[in-house]
Symmetry: C2
């Protein structure tokens, strides 16, 4: 049986899962691949830690160069994470003729163009299924299964930590900080949760998906990112009364000459299946012009689900090596000469439905003053709730709007904040409703 | 730009969709594939019908041999359906060195082994993504994305017609025949709906999925199949009261030495996402030992969604041709020499939860008599409802059981039917509950 040699950089949680599957599911993989995957060398700064795996002598090393420089190794799996040493090692491995598998979304979101250019120049494959959505085959679906489609839209719950926290606040009426503490205690959230709860991890993933879907380079820094730290149980309760759940959404819409790409908490109606995705699970809805809606759902993180995606990439690249088909599919789904530069729509220009909550003095005329300012900015109110719940001496006034433009909304909210009858900063949550205005300029039937 | 020539056998609904995408999305496909797909010839018995596509002269023919014998054609797409002429044409095309794409689940379920043997002997690819689940990439997911997993279980809603009918009965309290008539009027159901409502189409699909998932040959005739024709609004109402919805399920469980593969209406709890799949949509849940649960959801039928899956296969095979990698992935997911014969568990041997409905005379002692017979057969009752709803002079007595064996259940129901206090045939609906007994013998952590 032919042998394909695998080297791994970093052996943390997911790397350990990859090693376990390669060693303990060797026969299963061989029965499918028709060749043997040999885990030849693993570099990690900590080679003493008990990983509950038996490694042959000489497999573990602290010297990453022994992986990228080993002439026998065919495929290098980068499991270090971060945008520092991982990048240099991948570039060296590519120059040394290796095929690359990585799950490093931050690296791809920030340095993707450089890495993909290097891999293409060296006729190397660079696979990254595990970088988005854990075990959900979203990369493969975009690059292969949906190839007949113009992708119109993607909406995803792509960060299990945020979804766990929001589900917890929703279920138990706990505060953000209480829910975060539980997530940390359960091991769902990092000690420094900023990358997750700030929405940045979700944005890294969305940058990758948008590039693949539309055939464009997406500048990560152009993506509007808003995290979940300011979400309160009060807004979750109001959302429910209006028939919505609050989720941290990755939103990407193909508008032809621009791409509307953003990450923020959003209200979604109960009859949207994404509203049913609770706990640390992930899901993504993709709308294609031929397929309509498809949804993928599964564990977006965790040792074994993510390792499963890494192995699927290793096997894909092994199959290319075995048949001499390296480079069979362009890494970014489109031929390099077909990749366009589609600008990201600035957040001020988006048009959507909004939820506002104001803390207002409980006296007659308040509503008319607020509504007056909104009217001045062409923002039309769909419904109002003013239930007299006392919070910090003021009454919450809650409003849903018809479609409005973000720039006008910001101006109106600034004016309303300045009114004496309103205290504190108004709360703004965008609504992703299916009966929204269809701004999509490329949706033409085949 | 390199050219790959495509020939098509049959140009009905899906075939027309395939032609539309190949012609109208030519530039999009080229920008991803890096080569041109040329639709060279289409054979259909009706070449006069207006398909709303402009075909070049000579593309349409009534002679199928002109497709399979054309030396220039690389890929033959079989869109005829059925198990007759389609099989002969595919075998001839394979012998002529063509690559094959088909969506013909009936053919694959019944003659799969012969076709796959022929394609392997001729080093030809035979792709069939569109045969199951329309646009959902379930075949690719099983063959590629989940390769690191032992597949433990699959549960699917795989027939849009049945799901539409059951959703309609659930929403409107209509009878099966009323709902079927609406499905037919809307074009969701064939004039002869037996293949769909009898569960046979679902079983064809499940046979294919089970073979791919477990690496086994599944004899379609061994699959227990029960359709939806006997489902009544009354049972749907009772199901709802117990917290369940009724769906036609494709169920496949890997028990190591046997495979529990069956198609029948089943009650599933509200918190199972599959219970939310309504109308003509399809969904499938796959449980793998590494990934846990993943769910795919989308349009399981229809011109464009199915055509999208066919095109993804055409592009896959074109990529293999362009890189000389034909045969890159074994058609049945496992290497031929690794395929085992796992017998299908006879339905009498399954163990699950049950719902029974008896039409009983409304008098004291009835319940004790029925319960007595069940007890004699080791069937333990979990809950009973006897609400005094009059139906044809008798009162419906409804019971849910703990885990019981099908053989015992059948004997008990036969005895209960014979009681004078019971009229008509008892209704039996199996329950797929997540808190069921775990008979799975292969579920070991990696």
């Amino acid at each position: 049986m032919k042998k394909i040699y695998v080297g791994m950089l970093g052996c943390g949680t997911v790397g350990t899962g990859v090693a376990k599957i390669l060693i303990r599911r060797k026969a299963l993989i061989e029965s499918r691949l028709g060749a043997s995957l040999i885990l030849k060398r693993i570099a990690d700064i900590d080679i003493q830690r008990d990983r509950n795996i038996f490694f042959d002598e000489g497999v573990l090393t602290t010297d990453a160069q022994k992986v990228v420089d080993d002439p026998l190794i065919d495929i290098v799996v980068e499991m270090i994470g971060g945008v520092g040493v991982a990048k240099d090692l991948i570039l060296k491995a590519i120059r040394n003729g290796k095929q690359i598998v990585t799950a490093n979304k931050a690296l791809l979101a920030v340095h993707g163009p450089e890495l993909f250019k290097a891999s293409e120049a060296n006729h190397a494959d660079l696979a990254f299924e595990a970088s988005v959505g854990g075990c959900m085959p979203i990369i493969k679906s975009l690059r292969e299964s949906l190839i007949a489609n113009q992708i119109m839209e993607m909406t995803g719950i792509l960060n299990g930590t945020c979804n766990f926290i929001l589900s917890k606040i929703t279920a138990d009426n706990s505060t953000f900080h209480e829910a975060l503490a539980i997530a940390q205690a359960k091991g769902f959230a990092e000690t420094d949760p900023a990358l997750d709860v700030g929405g940045f991890d979700t944005a890294h993933k969305l940058a990758i998906l948008s590039a693949l879907a539309y055939g464009t380079e997406i500048n990560y820094n152009d993506i509007y990112i808003e995290g979940i730290t300011l979400i309160t149980p009060l807004d979750i309760v109001f959302a429910r009364e209006f028939g919505y759940k609050i989720k941290l959404l990755a939103i990407s819409k193909n508008r032809g000459d621009t791409a509307d790409v953003r990450v923020h908490p959003a209200m979604i109606p109960f009859d949207n299946l994404l509203s049913e995705i609770n706990g640390s699970l992930n899901a993504i809805k993709v709308v294609g012009d031929a397929v309509g809606d498809i949804i993928l759902y599964g564990h977006g993180a965790g040792m074994m689900p993510t390792a499963s995606a890494v192995i699927s990439d290793i096997v894909d690249l092994a199959r290319n090596l075995l048949t001499g088909a390296t480079g069979r599919i362009p890494a970014l789904s489109f031929q390099t000469n077909a990749i366009k530069k589609i600008p990201v729509l600035p957040i001020d220009k988006i048009r959507t439905h909004y939820y506002f909550r104001f803390a207002a003095i409980d006296q007659p005329g308040v509503l008319s003053k607020i509504a007056g300012v909104l009217g001045d900015h062409n923002i039309s109110i769909k419904s109002v709730h003013q239930k007299g719940r006392k919070s910090e001496g003021a009454v919450p006034v809650v409003m849903l709007t018809h479609i409005a433009q973000e720039a006008s909304v910001k101006k109106a909210l600034a004016e309303i904040s300045a009114l004496e009858i309103v205290s504190g900063k108004p709360v703004l949550i965008r609504i992703e409703d299916k009966n929204g205005e269809d701004d999509n300029q490329v949706r033409k039937p085949v």
